[in-house]
């Protein structure tokens, strides 16, 4: 019985410390996001300048695969053919 109450105590402490930590941590994150927002507001979305480096890099990220191009070409060709009959 004694042991049980000591584990209870431990669980209670865990609950208190845990919730405090979770709240503390996420509160810090709120502050961090607010700081981040004020920092980022100085750099409005520079979409093109972020995309440019990638094109010069040797990645083919974002390129549409030839298979899909082929699929689309044939689909469009098919559709055009159908349309021209109508």
């Amino acid at each position: 019985m004694e042991e049980l109450s000591s584990v209870f105590m431990e669980a209670g402490v865990l609950m208190a410390v845990g919730m405090a930590f979770v709240f503390g941590f996420l509160s810090l994150l709120i502050i961090a996001i607010n700081l981040l927002a004020s920092f980022s507001s100085r750099y409005p979305d520079p979409v093109p300048s972020v995309k440019q480096p990638q094109q010069t890099a040797s990645s083919n990220t974002g390129e549409i695969s030839p298979n899909i191009i082929a699929a689309i070409s044939s689909a469009v060709a098919h559709y055009r053919q159908k349309n021209s009959k109508a």
């Binding site: 609950m15 919730m19 994150l29 709120i30 981040l36 980022s40 890099a57």
Partner: protein, 376 residues
């Protein structure tokens, strides 16, 4: 004659134990829930199938040399599969709504009360004869309240591997039951006026914020809770790949092919822990009961916190969004939206609920880290 006898002795019929039959029925039950009821089918279908396979007599799926044995030890015992799932989930998650309204993090924090209250409850269950949960067991069970599958599997594999099967099944089942569990609690704790509250439209979040956000989360976690960095780190890696815009092919693979492959294996591996001796005992009933309690308390804590915040906030806060703090992305946010529409057909809360919803993912990863640091 000899051959016939050997053949008979190698049939399942000659070797069945009752527990195996029951566990196969449990596996079939999970398949039924997944297929006919749509309960988190991506995980519960492979888990249910794995449960059937692992209980086949003679076949030895989960013994040395069996395929489920290799899957479990290579992917779950090492923690790799849940971490890869978490990376994929990170690559699927848009934190825009949370960055636009960061106070929603408090709702994600409050909802974690479901975890810690359940931890207390699991220890309390020890007063009942038949239960004997250690603090590690209790912690692994409590994380069900986090409403986050990979987090629960990761923590259970570290703290209480023998309970892993029951914990994962409970976590995914209750996540599927969110539309049934949450609404009564949400309605009981709010009045019609509160549910009709409309919230201010969210500001635009720019690209730079979205890129830095996962790094900020990671750095804070490194500073204050390194034990959570496996989960938070892989999640943030996925999210950074998504938002940075220069590795789209990696991000796409992480949230499609890779997560699909890992999901199949993770499910089978979890299912392999659904053996009769690990599942058919009173502790499993306790886990299922505690899981339901955890979800309910988490939901209530989220809603009450939202009410409290509403009192001190200059911008109005609809207390329903607090329920999304348990995570269960994106189901809980959809439930909030639906209940909100019932009171006010012009009030779309979905985007407002996405903030606490993704906050809940972070919150339970942090809670898991606390438990690992203090109990693990």
């Amino acid at each position: 004659m000899d051959s016939l006898n050997t053949l008979w002795m190698s049939t399942g019929l000659a070797n069945f134990e009752l527990g195996q039959v029951i566990m196969m029925l449990v596996g079939l039950g999970l398949l039924f829930l997944a297929i006919a009821k749509g309960f988190e089918p991506l995980l519960l279908l492979p888990i249910g199938f794995g449960a059937i396979l692992t209980n086949i007599p003679v076949a030895g799926f989960s013994e040395v040399g069996g395929v489920l044995h290799y899957i479990y030890y290579a992917g779950i015992d090492t923690g790799i599969f849940p971490l890869l799932i978490f990376m994929g989930v990170g690559a699927m998650t848009d934190f825009g709504a949370l960055i636009a309204n960061p106070r929603m993090l408090l709702l994600g924090a409050a909802a974690q009360f479901g975890i810690f209250a359940t931890l207390f409850g699991a220890i309390a269950l020890n007063a009942i004869p038949g239960f004997d949960f250690t603090l590690k067991d209790a912690s692994a069970i409590a994380i069900i309240g986090g409403a986050d599958g990979p987090t629960a599997i990761f923590l259970a594999s570290k703290l209480a591997p023998e309970l892993l099967g029951a914990i994962a099944v409970a976590a995914y089942s209750y996540m599927a039951l969110v539309p049934i569990i949450q609404p009564p609690i949400m309605k009981a704790l709010t009045n019609e006026d509160e549910r009709q509250i409309e919230m201010k439209q969210l500001r635009h979040v720019n690209k730079l914020e979205k890129i830095i956000f996962p790094l900020a989360v990671l750095i804070l976690t490194i500073f204050f809770l390194p034990a959570a960095t496996p989960l938070v780190g892989m999640f943030c890696l996925g999210n950074l790949m998504r938002e940075c815009g220069v590795v789209d092919r990696l991000s796409s693979t992480a949230q499609n092919e890779l997560i699909n492959i890992v999901t199949i294996f993770l499910g089978l591996g979890v299912g392999s822990k659904l053996s009769a001796d690990a599942f058919l005992n009173v502790e499993t009933l306790g886990i299922l009961a505690l899981g339901a309690v955890a979800f309910s308390i988490g939901t209530a804590a989220g809603v009450l916190m939202a009410k409290l915040m509403g009192k001190f906030s200059k911008d109005p806060i609809n207390p329903l969004v607090g329920a999304a703090g348990v995570s269960a992305v994106p189901m809980a946010a959809r439930v909030v939206n639906k209940i909100g529409l019932q009171s006010n057909p012009h009030n779309f809360l979905l985007m407002h609920a996405m903030g606490p919803n993704v906050a809940g993912v972070l919150g339970s990863a942090v809670a898991a880290g606390v438990l690992l640091a203090l109990v693990g």
